[in-house]
Structures are given as C-alpha cells and as structure tokens.
Amino acid sequence: MTAHAPTADAHAHAEHHDLGFVRTYLFSTDHKMIGRQFLFMSLFMMIIGGGLALMIRWQLAWPETQIPLTRWIPEPMMYDGFMPPEFYNAAVTMHATIMVFFVVMPLLVGCFGNFLIPLMIGAGDMAFPLLNMLSFWVSVPAGIMMVGSFWVEGGAAAAGWTGYAPLSTVPEYTGVGMGQNLWALSLIVLGASSLMGAVNYITTIINMRAPGMTWFRMPLVVWSLFITAILLLLALPVLTAGLGLMLFDRMAGTSFFLPAGGGEPLLWQHIFWFFGHPEVYIMILPAMGIASEIMPVFARKPIFGYHAMVFSIISIAFLSWIVWGHHMFQSGMNFTLGTSFMITTMVIAVPSAIKTFNWLGTLWGGNIHFKVPMLWALGFISTFVVGGLSGIYMANTPIDIFIHDTYFIVAHIHYVLFGGSIFAMFGAVTFWFPKMFGRMMNPTMGQIHFWGTFIFYNIGFFPMHIIGVGGHMRRIYNPTQYEFLEPMQWWNVFITRGVLIMGAFQLVFAINLFYSLYFGKKADRNPWQSNTLEWECPSPPGHGNFETPVTVHRGPYEYSSPEVEEDFLPQTRDLSGATGGSH
C-alpha cells in the first residue's frame, strides 16, 4: 500500500506516525484502512466464489467431464477433476453464499460504506472507530469458517444459499453434517459484523455531518448507504434468529421446521425471505448510489431529480419489507396471499423506474466524458434495467408458475447482482481508486476490462433467460438427464464459453489493480474535478481526513453552474466573499 502524504498529515494529526505497522495496516481503527481491508478481503473471496462459478458452468456445458485445473482438489470433493453431484450442490450453495455475503455486501457496504461516509459528510472518522475495527475483524473468522467448511467431514453446506428446511435441518437428507452448522454459524457471526457496521454508519451520518451538510445536501451514495444501514439493522437479526432455530433443529433435537415434530418448513421460508428481500436492496441501493455519484461528474451536470432520487430510495426501503412472499408463490403459501404480494411487488418496481428515468435525465443535455468509471455506471444502468424488467415476470403470479426455479431466475439475479452490484463496484473502484491509494488506475486496461466484461457478461448471462423460458431448472447437476432440455444443451455450452471468457477478462482488472497500486500515475486531490467533500482531502487522505475543518455551502451536484466559470463548484467553496476554494 502507498504511504500517506506526509505533508498532509504533519499539520493536523501528527500522532498517527507513532502507530506501528500492526496498528496501521492490521488492527487499524481508521475508517479508510478498514475500507481497504474489506476491499481486499472481498476481492479474495470473489476469486473463490468465481472459481466455483466456473466449475459449475463447466459441469453444465460438458457434464461429468474432467474440469481443467481442478485435479488438485482432494476427494471426496472432486475425483481427479470430476465433480460428483454432492459437490455440485455444495458448489452452487457456496458460490451464492460467498458472493452475496462475502463479496457484494462487504464490497459495497463494508468497503465503500466505510471509506466514503466520513469523507463525504466531512467527518474525521466514524463515530465508533473501535467498533468499526471489530466489524472487520469479526468478519474474518466468519469467512474462515465458511471457506473452511469445505474440508470438514461431509463437506460444505449443500442445501442452497436459501437453506430451505427441512433439507438444511436434517443432516441425513443431504449427508452434510458439520458443514451446514458452520454455514449457519458463519452467517450468524457475519451478521454481528454487519450490525456493528450498521450502527456505526447510522450514528455517524446522523451526528457527524460537517457544518452546512444538511440532509438534502448529502450525496446520494451517502443517502443510499444510510438507508442500507437501517435495512441491515432491521433485517439481519431476523436471519440470525432463523439460523439459530436451524442450529437448534440440527443440534438440539428441536423441530421448528420439521412437520413430524409439529414444526413447519414454510416458517423458514418466511423468516429467510423476510430478511432476504431487504437483503436484495441492501445489495442494490449502494450500487444505485454509486451510479448516481459517478454520472453527474462525467456528464458535468447536476443529478436530475435529486429529491425524487432520495424519496425513491426511501420508498424502496419501506416497500422491501412487504414483498417477501414473491419468493414463495409456488411454495404452498396461501394462494390469495400470493395475490397481495404480487401487487406490492409490482409497486416496488416503480421507484426503480423513477431512478432509471432520472439517470437518463442526467445524461440529457450533458457534456459526457467516457472515462472508465462512467462506462461502468452506464453499463450498470443498461444491465440493471434488464434485471428490473425481468423481475416483472416473476412478480406476476401466473407467469411465475412456469419460470419459478428455472434459469430465468438465475438470469434475473445475475443481472441484478453482477450487472448491477458488481458493475457498480467496478465503477466505484475505478472512480475512488485515486482517493483510496493516491494513484490513478491505468485507463487503457480499464477500457479493455470494461468492454470485455460487458460484452461477454451479456453473452454469458442473457441466454439464461432463454433456457429458463425453455423450462431449464436451476440447481440441476446434469441437464442431459432430461429429454426436453436436449435441444437447449448447446446454449449451455454457449453460456459457459461466454462466462469463461468474461472470467479471463477479470485478470486484466487484477493486473491493473496491483500494477496501479505501485506504479500508477500519482493522483492529485481532485482528478475528476468533482464537487463532493472527499476530493478536498489529499489523495490518499491522512489520519483525520481533512486538514482544516470544512463547511458546506451547497448541494453535491453543482456542475456547469452559471455562478462560476469552471464547470464544477465544490460543496465547500464559499462564493459570498473573496473566491475561496482550494483550487
């Protein structure tokens, strides 16, 4: 990692030089370092989650053939590169669990929540720095438990990331013993980590905004992280309670979810999805916030409909509590209740539509620079719209009868979480990299990575809609076991090729990341000529962030304002007296 700029630190917070390596890089209480820690942990986990995905895809395209580069994986996981169905189910379960809980959440919330909130509201650090450090260090054992569960007897959890009971609660049904327990324990521990983060974010945003930073002068990414933190605070305890019941059923002989003992399998689904749907928005709201942050900067224009954007975030958050039943239309849940959930789910599409139109409005009349972060933001909108629209098919109860549990769902979730959250994450990394590490990323490699990923992402994932509409079930080990899927098998080959090539393009990102970390061009304070407060600090900011306390005079998106000659007007610049501002 790069050194802090010494001149910047010298005048405000000299004491941070006394911190040794351990307090600076490992047990740091500095929100920026914790953000970077979350970044590298999640990118590491993404390699595992992505590797599992590629193995799954290989198996689906060329079932029961030897998978390249996997012969090192020991029995009874893989047999000399051949994947048995037990491991396939574990791979499907762990791919999704890792991507949701150890990649997307810690990247968007852990990394960018931590890094951006204090900087963008003009605070020196989080409200509870020690709790913040704990939040990261509690997530590490959770990750170790999750990944380590592959090596325990019986293998890793294999009941799907949704862990439906009683498959997940009776060890005999899957043959998985300790692995499923570790899965639940890991998520309980990770939940504690997220709660610590959520409490911190909420407190910091409410109490530590700089003078003049009113609620409606806050950048949209801070708004989205604030609402996300509230969702986390309210949703995660529900999952934790459900996981606790699961562990009781597995280890203490209770039968909360087992009909034979008076339990009810549907109870798990209600608990899981009551958490699970807000969870979907926990993973997409920050991504929407990131896109809303990047677009005005590169369109050199105020965000269109700032207030509408804020209110749609709030209404999404509210509605996200009353739509969970749309995952359960075919579950045997009361069928009339299904209709109620269909209507609420239809309504939740509206705020997302509002946001999309406002992004288009932001582009209208702009002066658009196609820098790498902007490409990701535009790519995000383009793919998120597909994911949003495909949601309408599932929200519609009769159509859902047919497409439920098919690849249509797999396509949808990947358009939202990969084309949505992960694209936004790439946008965020390329946009804030200069602030995080004091160097610029290489734009040529950035362009190659974007176009390779965007094109092969769509080649890989769009056809999943097509095979889903053909009836292709999700989570099946070998599609060639079914006659009616025979004519579609070539699509599986096509999809796998697309995904493999897309995977290869991620190497460009990895190379760019590490190359730029050490050899990137030195970044100045405000390389994108942006308005928000983080760009007032040195790149990277020293301990305590701001050299002098900042005062906010206006909203975050005053681009091309007639008040000044340049096409940007930082939030801190005082136009009342002599021209202030630091540039």
Partner: protein, 238 residues
C-alpha cells in the same frame, strides 16, 4: 418469433399463462427499447466536445410525476389483470373424478391411484413409481405430498409447477389437451439426487386410458371412471 423458446403448451390454462407471458414480454421489451435507445441517443448527442457546456438543470417536477404515474398504472393494471388466471389455476379447482395422490420422496415420485372404486385407503389402491397416467381433456386433481424434504412438481408443457411440502397435502390440478408422454422433473433442490429426479406423465386418449385401466385392474370390470362430464358448477376447494 416468440414461441420458439417456450415449450409446446398442452394444458388448458397454459394458454392463459402464455398469453400473460407475451403481454409482459411486449411491455418489458418496449420499456427496454425505450430506455436503451434513449440512453444511446443521449450518449451520442451529448458526448463531450470542445467548448461545450452542459445544461444546468436540477430536474422537472412534471416529468417526475409522469414517470411515476405511468409505470405505476401499468404494473398495477398488470397485477390485477393476472388475478383471474392465478385464481383459476391455484384456487378455484374444478370438480374431478380423477384424483391421484402424488408423493415425492428422495428421489422419486410415487403415484397412488385410488383404483376402480375411486376411494383411497381401500384394497384396490395401487402405487406406481414415476408413472402418471391420465386421460386427455379431463381435469385431473393431484394431491401432492412429500415424505421427506420439499420437492416441486413441474411439467413444463403443462405450465404446471407446485412445490410439495412435507406435512401438507396440496391440491393442484391440470387438464391436458394433447396425448403424449411428458417429463416430470423435480424443480426444487432436494438433495444429491435432485438432478435426474424424474417421473413421466402419460396423457392417453380415452380408449387407450380405458385399456390401461383394464390392464392394471383386471379384476374390476370396466368400473373405472366413465366419460363423465365436468361438474358444471365447479368446486371451490382450498
């Protein structure tokens, strides 16, 4: 252009589902084209050029109201438009002489036929694994059960899917419109043998069905369900 990806439909209500599918297809396709074309047009029209300055505007309340209300009306209309089909498939089950008990277990479907007397729990009940035989153009009621975990009864060509819950009996129905043999995959992850958990639905012409009944229950002389008409009043069972 559209039907090449949906499997052939062979059930009465399948046409309703396909109709809604196509309706949503055209609505979402129109929305998708609108957004993508607008976006690309703006990207071209408003790309950075020397000397250009962006329009300074914070939005337009009229537009906000328009693009809140129009999508809201469309999706809510779509929701209410779908209720009738949903009720027809899942709530208002028709009366039927043909009731079969389907019990899922890891990793097979047990089809229990009531036999000529039409009653379960009698001596002439007969269980056949993974082999579901029904007459064409007759409503069929399935009592879906599970012995262990959740499975999901799925016949793509019937557009029929219903999860099977341990501890419950879920009544479900279909009416096939074309004779033939169709696969019954399990659609809900149910263990290591989930993939390949597969039964077969054979829809028979009435004469073939009667012949099959006579073959299965030779003792009973053609007492098997006759060519009954559907009870015109229908029945609400739930």
């Amino acid at each position: 252009m559209l039907n090449w990806w949906l499997p052939e439909n062979v059930s009465t209500y399948g046409a309703d589902i396909d109709g809604l599918f196509h309706l949503v297809y055209w609505i979402t396709m129109a929305a998708w084209v609108l957004v993508q074309v607008t976006m690309i047009a703006f990207l071209v029209m408003y790309r950075n050029r020397p000397g250009r300055r962006a329009t300074y505007t914070h939005g337009n309340n009229g537009l906000e109201i328009m693009w809140t209300i129009i999508p809201a009306l469309i999706v809510v209309w779509l929701g209410f438009r779908s209720v009738e089909t949903w009720n027809k498939i899942k709530i208002d089950l028709p009366e039927s002489e043909h009731v079969i008990e389907v019990t899922a277990k890891q990793f097979n479907w047990e089809m229990l036929y009531p036999g000529p007397d039409g009653e379960f729990d009698t001596d002439d009940d007969k269980m056949i694994e993974n082999d579901l035989r029904v007459p064409v153009n007759k409503p069929i009621i399935l009592n879906l059960k599970s012995k262990d975990v959740i499975h999901s009864f799925f016949v793509p060509q019937l557009r029929m899917k219903q999860d099977v819950m341990p501890g419950r009996t879920i009544r479900s129905w279909f009416e096939a419109t074309k004779a033939g043999t169709y696969e019954i995959p399990c659609a809900e992850l149910c263990g290591f043998g989930h993939s390949g958990m597969l039964g077969y639905l054979t829809v028979l012409e009435q004469a073939d069905y009667d012949a099959w009944l006579a073959e299965q229950w030779p003792a009973a002389q053609a007492q098997a369900p006759e060519n009954d008409e559907v009870d015109p009043e229908g029945g609400r069972i739930g």
